[in-house]
């Protein structure tokens, strides 16, 4: 097997779900309470058998690693100076703004290709990184009319700019020198709401990297709000403590009125989506004032979220992308959303197909009850721990391997089989 690059963690965790943090199911890691960042971090609680998050820092060439990690002191201190420490308290305050009323579903429009007419929608979502040229740091458009023409949307529509993207573009946003000028231009374009970039809060890196990402999200949100935009704060989190910190900040700062969350990648995976939804709902209840929420992905959790947030808006991407893949949305008699193949002649516009998809998807979410995913057939008889009879054995074999052989300093220990 190939060697991993020396700047990447050499230890591999083939089952990412074991790194999911959940204090209600897993004990706190032994090394966390004496860590210098424990008060802010809260420690890790995983099923991966790690002593502390140092176990997630195992690169062999630290000079090339870009994780924000205390075991790389020069880089760590430089990163702390970059964001003025990991604490939220020193982020600038911004004035309160009135927030627009947003609909439940905002169709996402990525570009105008294969369309000839305007998508007649009162609210549309665009990508921040398609409105701003990330190479030059200039807006692609000079006026509201040009924006409407670029994406074939109505001139008077409410525009939500989504800061969600892959890591490379959102890192490019952080590297732009002229963010204040760009944000002033977005204000001039009459952008309704903009969501802050969602810097990744990964599970297989030291916690300081997560705390650095969270501070960057807050700083970029502050810049957007200070420029006069209605900005939504991405509350990316890995642990319960992260949600508590966001909650404390939001409760203390009434200018934070809109939150954003992205369920399309790690946060929406498997049963982790339920944990994130629960934490978001708790956060909203704890803050105690009407918050708005803008989400990407996780549409099936809309009914739950709507019980706790004053307004929830789903940036819906399927209608657009499936139309480009020539798929037509329809609802079954049971109210399920299905997609049928619909080929079009070469060069034909897909305006009607897109409009249909948007309408059907909206109807699905507006009238449809919460639909839980179909359950898999029950496994064979379970053991006393409520685990499957056979697959559990294999799981225990690779636990020690993942954790690097639990004892960190195996002095005075003799490995022996039990006779």
């Amino acid at each position: 097997m190939n060697q991993r690059p020396p700047n990447e963690p050499s230890r591999r965790f083939p089952h990412p779900h074991r790194l999911w943090d959940d204090p209600s199911r897993h004990a706190p890691s032994l090394g966390c309470p004496s860590c210098q960042e424990f008060r802010r971090c809260g420690g890790v609680h995983t099923d991966a058998g790690i002593v502390d998050c140092h176990d997630l820092c195992s690169c062999t060439d630290r000079s090339r690693c870009d994780n924000v990690c205390r075991f790389n002191p020069a880089l760590f201190v430089a990163r702390m100076r970059e964001i003025d420490g990991l604490g939220f308290e020193n982020a600038p305050r911004v004035p309160m703004r009135t927030i627009p009323i947003l609909p439940l579903i905002a169709p996402f429009v990525d570009h105008r290709y294969a369309r000839s007419s305007i998508l007649d929608e009162p609210t549309v979502a665009l990508s921040l990184y398609e409105v701003v040229n990330m190479a030059t740091g200039q807006a692609h458009v000079a006026s509201r009319q040009a924006l409407a023409d670029r994406f074939r949307i109505p001139v008077n529509s409410t525009v939500i700019l989504s800061g969600v993207n892959k890591d490379a573009p959102i890192e490019s946003w952080w590297a732009l020198k002229n963010r204040p000028e760009i944000l002033a231009k977005l204000c001039e374009l009459g952008i309704g709401v903009v969501t802050s970039p969602n810097y990744s809060v990964l599970t297989d890196v030291p916690r300081t990297d997560n705390l650095h990402a969270m501070k960057r999200i807050l700083l970029t949100w502050t810049e957007m709000a200070a420029a006069g935009l209605s900005a939504a704060l991405h509350v990316n989190s890995r642990t319960e403590r992260d949600y508590q910190r966001w909650g404390d900040l939001i409760a203390e700062r009434p200018e934070i009125q809109i939150l954003a969350f992205e369920f399309a990648t790690g946060g929406g995976r498997g049963e982790r989506i339920d944990w994130h939804v629960e934490q978001l709902c708790k956060l909203a209840d704890r803050v105690g004032r009407g918050l708005a929420l803008v989400i990407r992905g996780g549409g099936r959790k809309l009914p739950t979220l709507r019980k706790h947030f004053a307004q929830v808006t789903l940036i819906e991407t399927d209608a657009f992308y499936r139309a480009h893949r020539r798929r037509r949305a329809y609802l079954t008699e049971a109210g399920r959303l299905k997609w049928a193949k619909q080929l079009t002649p070469p060069g034909a516009a897909i305006d009607e197909l897109l409009a249909n998809n948007v309408a059907v998807v909206r109807a699905h979410f507006e009238i449809g009850p919460e639909q839980e995913p179909r359950l898999r057939p029950a496994r064979r008889a379970t053991n006393g721990n409520d685990e499957a009879a056979q697959s559990g054995f294999l799981r225990y074999f690779d636990l020690a391997g993942e954790a690097g052989g639990i004892p960190r300093e195996p002095h005075h220990m003799i490995a022996a089989t039990k006779t």
Partner: protein, 116 residues
């Protein structure tokens, strides 16, 4: 074999960027600008059993009115009475500074650290 395998073997396909495209490691720090070399060298009390060596790079961190020295995640010592300008310099750097152990006391309970 698929995308997961390629990702696992080649590493993450992006690199963390610096605010405004500025590499702060190449810039002089606030301490460099405002304090003399002598003022930046202080004595620290080491924790019992701290394993340190001359030349080790450590993190100096503000904590409850004093400065702690840590190697990785854990504290290995403390600077009990830092000067006001040293504390202010560390605070201006986000509460953290990098330091090097210059000398270690005979009994291993004190060390002279040079803060950058």
């Amino acid at each position: 074999m698929g995308v997961d395998y390629i990702r696992a073997q080649t590493g993450k396909p992006w690199k963390k960027r610096w605010d405004g495209g500025l590499n702060r490691l190449k810039q002089p720090s606030l301490l460099d600008l405002t304090m003399s070399e002598a003022a930046r060298t202080v004595t620290a009390d080491l924790e019992p059993g701290a394993k340190v060596a001359i030349g080790d790079t450590v993190i100096v961190q503000q904590s409850a009115g004093r400065l702690t020295i840590s190697d990785g995640l854990y504290a290995i010592g403390v600077i009990s009475n830092p000067s006001a300008e040293l504390s202010a310099g560390v605070a201006r750097g986000g509460g953290y500074a990098e330091a090097t152990l210059q000398r270690i006391g005979l009994f291993g309970d004190t060390a002279e650290v040079s803060i950058r």
